[in-house]
Subunit: 204 residues, 2 copies
DNA sequence: GTCTATACTTCGATAGAC
DNA sequence: GTCTATCGAAGTATAGAC
C-alpha cells in the first residue's frame, strides 16, 4: 500500500518554486489546467519532478492551498483590529482571480474527498476572520445594530466572488447597484472589483 | 475546415436522451465528468454515438444548457406576474445541484471561448427575469422603497448559489443567519435550501 | 535532485462497415 | 442509426540511470 518511493524534502528550493508557479497557473487557467506537464514546463523541468515532490496531484493542490491560505489568513487576521479592517478584507477580494479561484476550489472539493477536509477547514477559518473584521467595522462606525454581522459577512464575500466570476464572462447587470448597496449598508466605499476595463470579456 | 461528416437530426430520439442524461450526469458529478464515454455508458450506447450527434463536447454542453435554461426561463417568466413570484424564484434555487452547477458553468465559460457567449446570454436573461420577479414581489408587498430591487436580486441569487456549494463540503457558518436576514428584508420565509440533512457532507 | 524511459488510463475525434 | 476499429494527445504515476 504505502509505497517506499523517494520524495523530496519540504524545504527544497524546487518544491517551493513548484508551489508558487502552481498558484500562478491556477489563477490564470483554473484547476483543470493544473497538470504535472503544464506546471513543470513553465519551470523548464521534466514533468516527473512533480511526482518526486508530491505523491499525487491532489497533494500538490493541498500544498498550494496551505501555502496561500495561511498567507491570506495572516494578512486578514492582522487587519482585524487595525484602523480599517474592512479595507483589507475587500482588498483581498479585489484580485478577481483569487475570488473566483476560491469558489472553484470549493466546487472541486465537493467531488474530491481528499480536498474536502482542507478546503472546508480554510473556508471556516476564513469566514471566522472575515466575520471578526466585519464586526469590528460595524462596531467602530456605530452602524445600525439590526444589521446582523455574520449575515453581512456571508453576503459581502459571496457577492464579491460571484461578481468576479461574472466579470470574466462579461456579465455585469446589477453589479454596480449591488456594490453601491453594500457600500451604503456598511458606510464604506466599495469600488468595482477591477474596473471592468482591465479584465473585459472580449467578444470572442 | 468544415468537415462533411454525417450528423444526426436534431429531433432524434437518441439525441434527446443524450441531452437529458447529460444533465443528470452534470448535476451528479460536475462538468469534468461529462465525457463521451461516461455519458454513453449510462445509456448502453457506444461512446462514438455522441460524436454522431454532436460535433464536439462543447456543442453537447451548449445543447444541454439550451435545453435546461429555456425550460427554467419559461417557468420563471411565467411566475413573474403570478401571486407569488418570489416563491418560484427560490424554488428554482432549492435544487442545490442546479444552483452549484450554474456557477460551475460560469467558471467553465471563462476559460472556454465557445461557451462564453451562450452562458453569458442565459445568465443575462435569467438575471432580467429574476429582477422582474423580485421587483414584482417588492411592489406587491409594499416593501421599503429604498431597498434596490436589482441589488437585492444579485445578492439573493449569489447567496443561494454560494450556500449550495458550501453545503456540499459541509461549510455552514452564517448560512442560517444569511437566510434569516434575507427573509426579513423581503418579508418572505426562506428555509434552508435543502435542510442539510438530505445532502450532508459526510466526513470522508 | 533531475533526468529518461515506460506503463497504463482516459479523453476527443474520425473513418468506414453494417 | 449504431457499431467496431483506430489514431493521437494528454493525463497520473513509477522505476531506475546519472
Amino acid at each position: 500500500m504505502a509505497t517506499t518511493r523517494r520524495r523530496g524534502k519540504k524545504d527544497s528550493k524546487t518544491r517551493i518554486r513548484l508551489i508558487d508557479e502552481a498558484l500562478i497557473l491556477l489563477s490564470e487557467d483554473g484547476i483543470s489546467a493544473l497538470s504535472a506537464r503544464n506546471l513543470a514546463q513553465r519551470l523548464d523541468l521534466s514533468f516527473q519532478i512533480v511526482h518526486y515532490y508530491f505523491k499525487s496531484m491532489d497533494d500538490l493542490l493541498i500544498a498550494v492551498i496551505d501555502h496561500c491560505m495561511t498567507g491570506l489568513l495572516t494578512i486578514l487576521e492582522g487587519a482585524i483590529d487595525s484602523d480599517n479592517p474592512l479595507e483589507t478584507l475587500i482588498e483581498l477580494h479585489k484580485g478577481q482571480a483569487a475570488a473566483a479561484l476560491s469558489l472553484e476550489f470549493e466546487i472541486y472539493a465537493g467531488r474530491r474527498p481528499a480536498l474536502r477536509e482542507p478546503i472546508k477547514r480554510y473556508t471556516d477559518l476564513f469566514r471566522q476572520a472575515e466575520y471578526e473584521a466585519v464586526s469590528c467595522h460595524l462596531k467602530k462606525h456605530n452602524i445600525d445594530k439590526n444589521l446582523p454581522p455574520l449575515a453581512v459577512t456571508v453576503m459581502l464575500t459571496s457577492a464579491f466572488r460571484v461578481l468576479a466570476i461574472e466579470n470574466a464572462i462579461g456579465v455585469t447587470m446589477g453589479h454596480k447597484e449591488t456594490l453601491a448597496w453594500l457600500s451604503s449598508l456598511l458606510s464604506f466605499p466599495i469600488t468595482h472589483p477591477a474596473e471592468l476595463t482591465t479584465n473585459p470579456a472580449t467578444t470572442s
